[in-house]
């Protein structure tokens, strides 16, 4: 057998697992599709979310490191940090819902330099003896019980590697996971295409804030997003999400030239483009089978964020070490996975599905609903499931008013399960 443990993917989850395993003396090989760690062109919001208990931990940023105060995990980081103080949801006529902490005095999150972070972790792994096969694709493989075989393609040549335990940390599309049969019990959801444009010269947007634009007039079926970049004031990231029916390039063109935001883009210049596509599945409730464990985004409902990737990698290393010692590390990992991530809670899924804003409401109705939230500060959370819940809780403070003034909107809310009959 070539290796004790093979890890597929040199992202946050894979590198953290590699580091922790190497520190425990396990011989590890990481297989990565990219040829080196010098460029990161995959779109990502690149932020640390510091809400208490997000992913069942509390993240603190200390001098030169991240500290997960519950699990005790510490990760060195010496790159840029850009605080984000506000998150605004804009309606077509610019009624605004505001998320903030301590009225904008405490950051909601920090943007960080993911490329620098991953490169540093990679260097640390290499220093601790982790082997890397870069520019290598995984074609398939098989868990034979006493070992796992992994077929790889490198420089047009196929070969087969073997290991005792395989960690799949390939990221969101879960292609390799599928080749190992790990997607068997998962439902696949939609495919989303995302393009991110780094731009200068956009006017009228607050620095250090996220801005989500909702409504048909912005030309997207979801939200068009303008958020902070690492490049300093006045340079923003524009994130556009599309679908097979409506690709992000077209949405971007119309958002910047024909939507109510068009005047803000009159003198804007593109600096750099990145992208990703996401074929999403419902979460992998049982991420461990035989000698194979799927960690991070490939097992998630969409994503665990970078910090969740670190937690998964750390836990997975412990689980693999326990398994190698004949203990039941994978069951313990599965329990932690199911308990810690919100998409594994059935309640959260029901909540998130019932809280749609786009599609359901017309632009005029969004203006009305958003206007009801003006003057309120919604606190903290960046959770994909709790955020819409907080918005609807705020709207529902005005239930009686909506029923009286706009009965047709109230009827829609009832139909969507967002208000009582």
């Amino acid at each position: 057998m070539n290796h004790e443990c093979i890890i597929i993917g040199a992202g946050p989850a894979g590198l953290m697992a590699a580091l922790k395993l190497a520190e425990a003396g396990v011989r590890v090989l990481v297989i990565e599709q990219k040829i080196n760690m010098d460029k990161l062109n995959r779109a990502c919001s690149m932020q640390f979310i510091i809400d208490d208990d997000y992913e069942d931990d509390v993240l603190k940023l200390e001098d030169g490191k991240l500290v997960f105060t519950k699990s005790g995990l510490e990760v060195p980081y010496d790159g840029k940090l850009v605080p984000v103080y506000n998150k605004y949801y804009h309606s077509p006529k610019d009624h605004v819902i505001r998320f903030t902490r301590e009225s904008g005095k405490a950051p909601l999150s920090y943007k960080f330099d993911k490329q620098h972070f991953l490169k540093s972790l990679y260097d640390l792994c290499a220093e601790k003896g982790v082997s890397f096969m870069m520019g290598t694709l995984v074609m398939g493989g098989k868990d034979l019980g006493d070992e796992v075989q992994v077929r790889v393609m490198h420089d047009r040549e196929q070969s087969t590697l073997s290991c005792r335990k395989l960690i799949i940390a390939e990221g969101v599309n879960a292609v390799v996971s599928g080749k190992f049969g790990m997607n068997r019990d998962r439902k696949s959801a939609a495919t989303a295409y995302c393009l991110k444009y780094l731009m200068e010269g956009i006017t009228g947007v607050e620095n250090n804030s996220w801005n989500l634009y909702y409504g048909e007039c912005y030309r997207s079926k979801t939200a068009c997003i303008i958020g902070p970049s690492l490049e300093g004031d006045g340079i923003f990231e524009v994130t556009i999400t599309g679908s097979p029916e409506l690709m992000p390039k077209k949405i971007f063109e119309e958002f910047t030239t024909k939507s109510p935001m068009a005047p803000n883009f009159r003198n804007a210049k593109l600096i750099k483009k990145s992208g990703c596509s996401v074929k999403s599945y419902l979460s992998m409730m049982n991420p461990c089978r035989g000698n194979v464990i799927c960690i991070g985004d490939c097992a998630a409902m969409i994503e665990v964020e970078t910090q969740g990737g670190f937690l998964c990698g750390d836990r997975a290393a412990k689980a693999v070490i326990a398994e190698m010692e004949g203990k039941n590390g994978f069951d313990e990992y599965t329990k932690w996975w199911q308990d810690s991530f919100e998409f594994n809670q059935p309640d959260h899924m029901i909540v998130s599905q019932g809280y749609a804003l786009a599609f359901v409401y017309t632009d005029d109705e969004l203006d009305y609903l958003f206007s009801l939230c003006e003057g309120h500060e919604l606190h903290g959370t960046y959770s994909q499931y709790l955020t819409p819940k907080l918005i609807w809780d705020c709207i529902r403070l005005s239930s009686a008013k909506i029923r009286e003034e706009r009965p047709e909107i109230y009827a829609k809310m009832v139909k969507m399960g967002q208000a009582e009959q």
Binding site: Q33, N41, K249, K279
Partner: protein, 61 residues
Amino acid sequence: MARRISDECVGCGTCAAFCPKGAISQAVTGYYVVDPEGCIDCGSCEKACPAEAIAPEEGQA
């Protein structure tokens, strides 16, 4: 008979992950290229691309 990646490529690598033949790889530029000898023209890469950068080679239907 092969797909081709244009300079609309943003370098995300999704196409390489979806290629069933392992025929797409990252070039030194950071962007991706199709190996025409490995490509079976199945279109998986084209479907995976967020940037509409992949199409059949010119001259093909």
